[in-house]
Amino acid sequence: MNDITQGLLAALRLIVVFDAELWEISLRSLQVSLTAVIIASVVAMPFGAFLAVQRFKYRRLVISIMNALMGLPPVVVGLIFYILLSRSGPFGAFGLLFTPWAMIIVQIVIITPIIASISHQAMRELWAEYHDLLISLNTSKWQRIKTMIWDGRRNLLTAGLAGFGRAIGEVGAIMIVGGNIEHATRVLTTAIALETGKGDFALALGLGFVLIGLALFVNISIHWLSRTEREGRW
């Protein structure tokens, strides 16, 4: 209990004194996770809608694989990408290892199946509602997908935020490919792991509370900014 109180006080102190390092790693956490969420959403949301609208051979298999990939172990993803991005690996020439871009790439891989799967669930329900109408209006496949994405945007927002929640709290994969380098790839979760390792539980907890606050702030802000229903208007 004492540790938690000290952690809260540490968090408050870091925020009040406008701690430069805290702001740096917080902003990097946001930058990495939001970039990963945006890129993953661009791929995963239309894919989820496509799976809802289109019938094809092995569709069920694709959905099963997508759902199974939601449970990808981040450490294994990190390890695989460490090998792929290291100097001797196939993508070593790009020099991405131990950069924020490597962290973004592994986060994309981890959260794309999550966003795609939740999007697919939401789109499947909407498609059941819209199916007859959109077929009757002779819409093209692409028009159907566009309509579903637009009309199901509130549910898709939930899918995106679920991906963000997973990304911002991720530590295993980004620790491996990012290396937790000060002023380069250190983010909140890797900093927490570092401080815990050093035995500074108060600071680790303080960073933890900042992380929770940041996640809540982003969720609330996005809900507020994208508030689609105003006085009975979508």
Partner: protein, 234 residues
């Protein structure tokens, strides 16, 4: 307008999970109408309309228009499907699908919103409308492309008297303006008020058809006689 008629159904049947739900049916639909498809629940009225509109898979036989043009017919479902958008956006949707010019879309939306008396709620979410308002919106959305044929599947079931009267007036005006109306109903009063000709369905077959006054005054089959008397048909 193109000349789509006649629509010829030849030896047409629809099977679902090995069970024949419609047919075999031979039927020719020409200009005229309004045509009312009547019959007890489960007699195949909805399936027949869906087959004619081209949104139901045919198991055997054919349904052929003289000049096939799916964009030139529209369908109103028993439970009105409204897009999760405003009333005005629901109306503009079918025109945007076929990429009409914006001024044309705006004037058509303005016209139809006035026709169905939803001007005051044009910018409100369509999902907040009452059942009667939703159905009027669905009919206006179907008519906004000026279709040659309008299919309606029991559009007034579950509606109050006033909404039913408003919709019937709208349909009669639509028929007068030259749109071919083919509609299913289980309401014999409505069939008498609207029909020029009748198709009576029983157990997936056309049991009787003819001009409305003849069918109502001298029904030929014992099934139709019983149905018109209000007997329960199995």
């Amino acid at each position: 307008m193109s000349n789509m008629f006649p629509l010829t159904l030849s030896k047409l049947s629809v099977r679902r999970r090995g069970k024949t739900v419609l047919g075999p049916i031979d039927l020719v639909i020409d200009q005229g109408g309004p045509t009312m498809v009547i019959g007890p629940n489960g007699s195949g009225k909805t399936t027949l309309l869906r087959v004619m509109h081209g949104i139901e898979r045919i198991s055997e036989g054919t349904a052929e228009w003289a000049e096939p043009d799916h964009a030139n017919h529209a369908y109103v479902f028993q439970s009105p499907v409204v897009l999760r958008r405003t009333v005005a956006e629901n109306l503009s949707y079918p025109l945007r699908v076929i990429k009409r010019a914006k001024p044309e879309i705006n004037s058509a939306v303005e016209y139809w919103i006035e026709q169905i008396g939803l001007g005051k709620v044009a910018n409100r979410s369509a999902t907040r409308l009452s059942g009667g308002e939703r159905q009027k919106l669905a009919i206006a959305r179907a008519l906004i492309r000026n279709p040659e044929v309008l299919f309606l599947d029991e559009p007034c079931s579950n509606l109050d008297g006033q909404s039913t009267r408003e919709i019937e007036t709208l349909l009669l005006e639509t028929a007068k303006a030259g749109t071919r109306i083919i509609m299913s109903t289980h309401d014999m009063g409505q069939a008498r008020r609207l029909a020029a000709d009748i198709i009576f369905m029983k157990s997936g077959h056309i049991a009787e058809k003819g001009l409305a006054p003849d069918v109502f005054s001298t029904p030929q089959t014992p099934e139709l006689q019983a149905f018109l008397k209000g007997d329960i048909l199995e």
